[in-house]
Symmetry: D2
Subunit: 210 residues, 4 copies
């Protein structure tokens, strides 16, 4: 127990620091009165029981855990619109406080299950009392609808230990389509909001000239 | 500025206390390994500029503000499933740390705009350094899909000062339907999850008997 | 482990709620630009290992724990000046969100060890998902110097399992005297600050008359 | 107002990030069951009114503010023992997430007022939505007794606008001596605690050999 706690302490630290950093982005957007591409940020260290499960399922020896499991530290950025995902990805790429190891785009190409999300694996340096330690962090970026659906799928996968029966799978499929539809309708509205904003701004500038 | 701050201090206190209390419910569910009906809780004190706007729009004199504006302090409970709303409402009704003044059910009967949400107006006692003060608090309970849509509608209303043009209104209507559809598909899955859980529990009990 | 967690959940909830409530007092004072009698507030649930130790040392059966141990939930208010303790005690007495079961004044009459602090035992109602539950809470009120000394004594007691050797005891005694002296010198300054404030206020009022 | 908020946003971000980082040090010590040299960490952005005061008093033009005022962002680490200050200073020096610009040791050589504290000026990189921005941060490291006295002196300086009358100054002097004495007595106890720990550890190792 104690050993696990000591192993995971820098991961907890990385999650805490990145939560403050990513939430700070949101605040900066709000203060600059631009549309913020970030709705909310969550983070967690993988629970010990899940680590043990995954390690035994994937045949990973304990001394290879930190190198092989890329999601011991996990951050999630949830956006309102599909288009915001790209904005967030660019922002993450422009930062200098970590290195990006890998990017996987499950938004353009969803998984067969229906899962959509943009994944980035970061190499994040934590300053510990024993010196600097680089930590792998998985960052997931997705819309609220994608997030909602993924939560449901995750708990069903958990129930059926990954072997979801055909009829349930079909229902999951339908809800994935409904989530996708919601994202599409929201994208259409988003353009509306943007155009509305342009009109308002133009009017204000004309008002100043008179 | 100073006067507003002093007026709003007990409202901020009420919001802070209720956030801890309602988030505590979520934690209790998680520790008891039951499905938690609460996905997340947010809270805010109405910004001063919005208070002034609303007061002048509704012709409310400043000394009637606290009695007439029921949403100076606002809390929101967001659920995964439509069915969770009822569970949360019952929980709120059973508490003894405030009085319920009014309930409005915009879930069974949505507004013409498409808005769905369950509202409760609470009378919450705050202990201040000048004695007890009772505060009106508006509590909104809604699913993630309802919440998502309501956020969009709110910002469009703000842009168009309440007079959303017909074509935008139509698009909003369509996204409201998409949100409703997502909630329905999720409800169907929810039953699946529950049935699955029953089967699992039954199996486990049979396992014990052998 | 699981059982302990379920037992302690309402205690954690009480500590979280009271931290927000007592920190709120501090904020109210700051906004009203009065001297705040509260420097900071801390809280904790007693660690499980300490509960087991204390129960076995005092021969308390597990089903009597909640009734016999009054400090499963502990809150601490730390003040700048000795005089602030009385102000805080009055404030606590005037609140209506809990009942006071007992008060012990180790400030007027310090323990033989040198320990000084004002203790209040509260009966605090927590709203759980199974209904209201009343929780015993120990509230300690002390100055920063008292707090500093108590922290040191606590860790020495822990080292020597309560049997501190005579020479160490003497050193502890001397540091208790130094802490007491600091509190006395600070009280003298405090009067200075107050008198200074009176002069300033009088001047300002004369200024207005001219 | 808006301009100030935009100017100070990266300073607030730096303070938030460093609070999480420095509090993380404390947690790492606690988990490794060593004596933690950090009792608590606080942080603040200088209030706008104080910035304006200081700029006009020191004749600093507004476009030189960020370069000339080193304490727009301020962090404070409070320790139990004088000896812990050195440990913390070494830890700060070993970190790679900022550069140290300057160190001033008011512990070895206290100010004539009686003020004692160790100051470090850091150059901390914040990742903003417009790119990286380096921020000056003042870090103060002091014991609880030093901190207590400094708080009192600060508020008296504020009252008397820096011109504290001779008799009050004398009383401040006496309380500074009392604070110094407390630190000295505590240092003596600290050695005790350490020696006690050595004895305990030795006994345990002997126990293992038998």
């Amino acid at each position: 127990m104690r050993k696990w706690e000591i192993l995971l302490t820098p991961y907890k630290q990385a999650v805490d620091e990145l939560k403050v950093k990513l939430r700070g982005i949101r605040e900066q957007y709000q203060k600059s009165s631009k549309h913020t591409p970030i709705e909310f940020v969550t983070g967690r260290v993988k629970p010990i029981s899940s680590i043990i499960d995954k390690a035994s399922r994937k045949n990973i020896p304990l001394d290879r855990l930190e190198a092989e499991l890329q999601d011991l530290a996990g951050l999630r950025i949830v956006t309102q619109f599909v288009e915001d995902i790209e904005t967030v990805v660019e922002l993450i790429r422009s930062r200098k406080d970590f290195e990006i190891i890998e990017e996987i785009d499950y938004v353009s190409e969803k998984k067969s299950s229906g899962y959509r999300s943009y994944h980035m694996i970061l190499n994040y340096p934590v300053q510990t009392i024993e010196g600097e330690k680089k930590i792998l962090v998985e960052l997931q970026i997705r819309t609220m609808a994608m997030n909602f659906w993924a939560t449901i799928e995750h708990s069903l996968n958990y129930k059926y230990s990954g072997e979801i029966p055909a009829d349930v799978k079909m229902k999951l499929q339908r809800s994935a389509e409904a989530a996708f539809l919601l994202d599409e309708e929201m994208s259409i509205i988003r353009e509306e909001v943007r155009e509305a904003q342009k009109i308002i701004t133009t009017k204000q500038e004309q008002g100043r000239k008179l």
